[in-house]
């Protein structure tokens, strides 16, 4: 349902992604590992068509449709949703306003806000004075209200305490199970693997995909030997 073919992306005149090939089936969860600055977030922003991420080569396909030229909101309408790693603070714009735009009704907002302990945040300006964990919960809250078919999650658990990781993980897993949605998840800590059934993982280094395999196996290997070993891991090389 989602495919990236031979993608090359430039930012400020510099190649940040090269020769990227990814495919995600319906209901499949793909984990993306990679060191800081390897291009993971750039990949998510390119998928959504953010300005400054220029596709020099290749295609991004969603349900058979080429996304390359579509504005962000059109891609979102097709069913792609993102959970940002560092969402901006927007003065005067309240979480509730966005929720009301995304949700069918107030009940839906209420229920999900309750599950994610965000009821008191609804009337607050988005991300202003939110703690790291609150920001992540608010991001998950918004993306789930969007009801996407493909979720792009950029480090959903970073900065979140254990208790809230478990709440978020369960809510996310429930959504994926109930809707059979797909997901592309960036993780550093690997905690999210305890909550979602991830089928495969890719390792992105220097803007290229170096290897793919079982998420748990790859995560354990990175934890043990770091990313340098990944580069040497010839047998799994894509």
């Amino acid at each position: 349902m989602f495919k990236i073919e031979e993608l090359r992306v430039r930012v400020n005149g510099k190649d940040v992604l090269n020769d990227i090939n990814i495919s995600i089936d319906k209901g499949e969860v793909l984990i993306l590992f990679g060191p800081n600055g390897s291009g993971k977030t750039s990949l998510l922003k390119t998928i959504l068509g953010f300005s400054g991420y220029s596709i020099e080569r290749g295609k991004i396909l969603f349900e058979g449709k080429v996304l390359n030229q579509l504005p962000t909101e059109e891609r979102v309408k097709l069913g792609i949703g993102i959970m940002f790693q560092h969402p901006p603070k927007i003065r005067g714009v309240r979480l509730e306003q966005i929720a009301e735009f995304l949700a069918r009704d107030g009940e839906e907002i209420e229920k999900l806000a309750d599950k994610l302990s965000l009821k008191d945040h609804l009337n607050r300006e988005i991300n202003l004075d939110f703690s790291g964990g609150e920001m992540k919960r608010s991001e998950l809250f918004q993306v789930l209200l969007q009801k996407p078919k493909l979720l792009l999650l950029d480090e959903p658990e970073s900065g979140v305490d254990i208790e809230n990781i478990s709440i978020m993980g369960e809510v996310l897993n429930q959504y994926l199970k109930e809707t059979n949605a797909s997901a592309l998840i960036i993780t550093h800590t690997g905690y999210i693997l305890d909550y979602v059934d991830a089928n495969k993982a890719y390792v992105l280094i220097d803007g290229k995909i170096w290897c793919q395999g079982n998420p748990r196996e790859i995560f354990e290997s990175i934890r043990k030997d770091g990313y340098e070993k990944c580069k040497e891991c010839e047998w799994k090389k894509v």
């Binding site: 909101e73 309408k77 940002f84 901006p88 927007i90 735009f101 969007q146």
Partner: protein
């Protein structure tokens, strides 16, 4: 039949409503309306609130005469004497008015020069909300409005004054106002200008005369192409243990804005903060923020912060990633920037002004 707010044509009524006036008068405790040079309506539903043509009030009440020009004398300033009419509002001692008092100054004739002098007295321990809507008809081409206002908030009193401008692009406006705020009293001034205007020049001043007096100036300004708005607010602290706050949000979609603010402490133990934020949407727009802090004393706490910038691309793209089209995302950010919550308003007025703002921003620039 008495002429009143309902005697206007549809277009004029819409314009008057856009300046925050409740045509039905149902949510107001008293109403005043002046069209060009003629006072059309003075009506109070409450015993403790008097609302009159200012000239009539000066003739009727000898004790009111001493108020005329008093605020200007306090600051040793001259004021325009060629004014006519305007409103007189007096909230009697201890009266607490929940529903706002409304006053509308309307321009109808072409090239008319409306010059009014208003006097507002809030007596000891009284509390009131006043909303003044200044608007113009389609026919009022190249007209001029001068509004001199003197506010007197006596001991322990509270006045929340909201002024909404809804002019047209060829009208020049000059409000000149001073508020004298006594011990334990509070003066809140909210100014909202979302429509085009040729020129507005104003620098309203509050003078805090007694301990625990407080002033707050808040403004939301949207400046359209061809408009020039030189808008400031000043607080003079004549007594210690007084405080003030100024918050302004200015958005230029093509117009020129000068956003001034001046905190002048003439006493010790004064606390005040000034915050000015500007957003420039169009290449043609300019904003010049001039915050000033002044004192001869050490024991004061005066601070300011000013910031001017464009809409952040990151914020727009964030909202686009939630499915908002680009233009709508920009409008949401502007509306958020011009947050009605910064105005110290009762819920009823807050909701009304939110709706006015929504309507204006939705109709585009």
């Amino acid at each position: 039949m008495e002429k009143g707010l309902t005697n206007f044509g549809k277009e004029d009524l819409e314009k008057i409503s856009s300046a925050g006036i409740d045509i039905s008068e149902k949510t107001r405790s008293a109403s005043f309306l002046q069209e060009d040079g003629e006072v059309i309506l003075t009506k109070s539903l409450l015993k403790g609130v008097e609302i009159l043509n200012r000239e009539e009030a000066l003739n009727r009440y000898p004790e009111v005469r001493k108020y005329y020009g008093k605020a200007f004398k306090t600051l040793d300033r001259d004021f325009p004497k060629d004014t006519e009419k305007g409103y007189f509002i007096r909230v009697k001692k201890g009266t607490v008015v929940q529903l706002p008092v409304q006053a509308c100054l309307f321009l109808k004739k072409k090239r008319f020069e409306q010059k009014v002098h208003n006097i507002i007295i809030v007596e000891e321990g009284a509390k009131a909300y006043l909303i003044t809507g200044c608007a113009s008809s389609k026919s009022a081409e190249e007209s001029f409005h001068l509004g001199v206002s003197e506010f007197f908030v006596h001991k322990g009193g509270y006045l929340n004054f909201t002024m909404i401008h809804s002019w047209r692009k060829d009208i020049s406006v000059k409000p000149v106002s001073i508020a004298l705020v006594e011990e334990g009293a509070t003066f809140v001034s909210n100014y909202i200008c979302l429509h085009a205007v040729k020129e507005v020049s104003m620098y309203p001043t509050a003078v805090l005369l007694g301990k625990n007096a407080r002033a707050s100036f808040n403004s939301l300004i949207l400046s359209h192409f061809g408009s020039f708005q030189d808008i400031g607010s000043r607080v003079v602290f004549r007594e210690g243990y007084t405080s003030a706050e100024m918050i302004s949000r200015a958005v230029s979609v093509g117009g020129r804005i000068i956003a001034r603010g001046h905190l002048k402490s003439e006493a010790k133990n004064v606390k005040a903060h000034l915050e000015c934020r500007g957003l420039i949407i169009s290449q043609e727009g300019t904003i010049h923020a001039i915050p000033e802090l002044e004192t001869d004393y050490r024991d004061v706490e005066l601070s300011h912060e000013a910031a001017i910038g464009k809409i952040s691309r990151e914020e727009i793209e964030y909202l686009c990633a939630r499915g908002f089209p680009r233009e709508q995302a920009q409008a949401i950010i502007i509306r958020g920037f011009m947050d009605v919550e910064i105005l110290a308003l009762p819920e009823v007025l807050k909701n009304e002004i939110k709706q006015l703002e929504e309507k204006t921003l939705r109709s585009g620039f």
